[in-house]
Amino acid sequence: MSNEKKLCAKRLVIYLLFAFGLAWIPWIILNKTVGYEEWFTTNHYALFAIPTLYAPALANLLTRLITREGFSDMKLHLRLKRHWKYYLAAWLLRPLLSVLSIVLFNCVYGYWNWAEIRERMTFAEGLAVVLSVLGTGPIGAFNTIGEEFGWRAYMNQKMEPLLGTVGTVLAGGILWGVWHAPLTVEGHNFGKDYPGYPYVGILLMSISCILSGAILMWLTKRTDSVYPAAVYHSMNNNGGAALGVLLLVNSIGDPETFMPDTVQFIVLLIPTAIAAAITLALMLRERKKVPPADS
């Protein structure tokens, strides 16, 4: 292993210690003392809860400071004019994948019934939801940049020379998924009522993070900027991922609170998996064009 790779590995380990430590310690304390619902869904403990959203970003800065790496290549350039197409993709891809997921789900499980879908809400109501999600979804980027500035702008950069692009997508996704574990255990993503709780939840979260991670890594690499990834992540968290719910039917129960089982969840992931595979292939093609400096 070359010295540069050793240095990358050292920085990566320090970064991960910070990213996990700064988030997990307060999360576990808050979960045990006041309970997940109390601190996560209300602002009763905002002073302690908000900084944990920025734990990966803080880990990035602290690692750079401690290892004397400096603050270059932070991926904070906007590059909006040159890469507006990628910003557009970051904005629209998540809602599109969500809609495709539910269309596929309805087709696979035989729930596709346009008349029933139309019964749930009027055209105007549906349009209002779509417009408001598209309009306000990206605003949450000020929160999600806390994660993206860590995972995509730092961890991936350090991991790729060590594990390659595929390895970074896989290992980075697993780490990112496991990082959410204290929340997943408390039912944040999938509730608590499923077979194999909580291990299956953590596993599904990791799979989901691997797939989303590939798309986010592609956006970051193509634009050399962290903002498109933050926008995509924000769309995911603020309605974009749930937009497809408009196409669910009442036959499955209350569509608003519908929780898929493990197999259904995997079916729902198929469009994202295809998008992830395409972005991964694009990154590999790009990598072939530029031979690695340290070979």
Partner: protein, 255 residues
């Protein structure tokens, strides 16, 4: 472009700082203003969670909007100089690059203000809950609307500031609005109106009736839903218009 951004950030650093600090200051003033008769922090926070507190917070939000509007106009007034305008026009990025960066920095200011408001609101909610056990209604949705409203207002204001200068733009905007109102009045008085005034009065009363009955909820929610997209779209259009007007405006700068 990086150089222009750096120049804008450096030039407007106090405005950026102001966008972060105004909500902090307003939150502080909100607590102080209700604390006057309360005699203790606990009583003050109790008052804050009631109706008086809600009205005070709304008033402070309006005050913040006014302060921010004053700050954002400075972004454009700082470069109102003929020499600088001609220099930027000869720059490889041109005046388009400069205007682009001004729009980006203004967006940053509005964004920072929104984020600061959002977090101050969260902290105020925490403070009230921890001290009194009462729930403070969150204003996040209102802040989102205010954010897009400010984008919308700036999208309208900036081309006037670019064309007529910051000082004269207020007059120009008033005149433009007046012209629009006069055109509307002339049309209503002399235009080809099917059915005359009565039908219009009936239309308005029917509209209000439907609104109160909730029959227009769907359309209203579409309008509210489309507003953020429309505001951002207008902001982009505003940049294009400003680019067209910049050199005409620069020729009329006093300095």
């Amino acid at each position: 472009m990086t150089g222009l951004l750096y120049k804008e950030l450096r030039q407007n650093r106090l405005i950026l700082l102001g966008a972060v600090l105004i909500p902090v200051m307003l939150a502080f003033v909100t607590v102080i203003s209700v604390a006057g008769d309360a005699h203790s922090l606990q009583n003050a926070l109790n008052v804050l969670s009631g109706n008086i507190g809600t009205v005070t917070r709304l008033f402070m939000m309006l005050l913040g909007m006014i302060l921010l509007a004053l700050l954002t106009s400075i972004i454009f007034s700082m470069d109102e100089s003929k020499k600088w305008a001609y220099f930027t026009a000869s720059h490889p990025q041109g005046y388009r690059g400069q205007l682009y960066m001004k729009y980006v920095v203004l967006f940053m200011v509005l964004g920072l203000y929104f984020v600061s408001m959002y977090y101050m609101d969260a902290l105020l909610q925490m403070l009230v809950y921890q001290v009194t056990g009462a729930e403070l209604t969150g204003f996040t949705n209102l802040y989102v609307i205010v954010f897009f409203l400010q984008i919308f207002v700036n999208a309208w204001n900036i081309p006037f500031m670019v064309r007529f200068g910051v000082k004269n733009s207020a007059y120009a905007r008033c005149i433009a609005l007046l012209v629009l109102v006069v055109i509307l009045l002339v049309y209503l008085l002399f235009g080809p109106l099917p059915g005359g005034w009565d039908s219009y009065v009936r239309m308005v009363t029917d509209f209000l009736d439907q609104l109160l009955k909730g029959e227009l909820n769907g359309i209203i929610s579409v309008i509210f839903g489309a507003f953020p997209l429309a505001a951002v779209g207008l902001y982009l259009l505003s940049y294009r218009i400003s680019c067209k007007l910049f050199m005409k405006g620069a020729a009329e700068y006093v300095k």
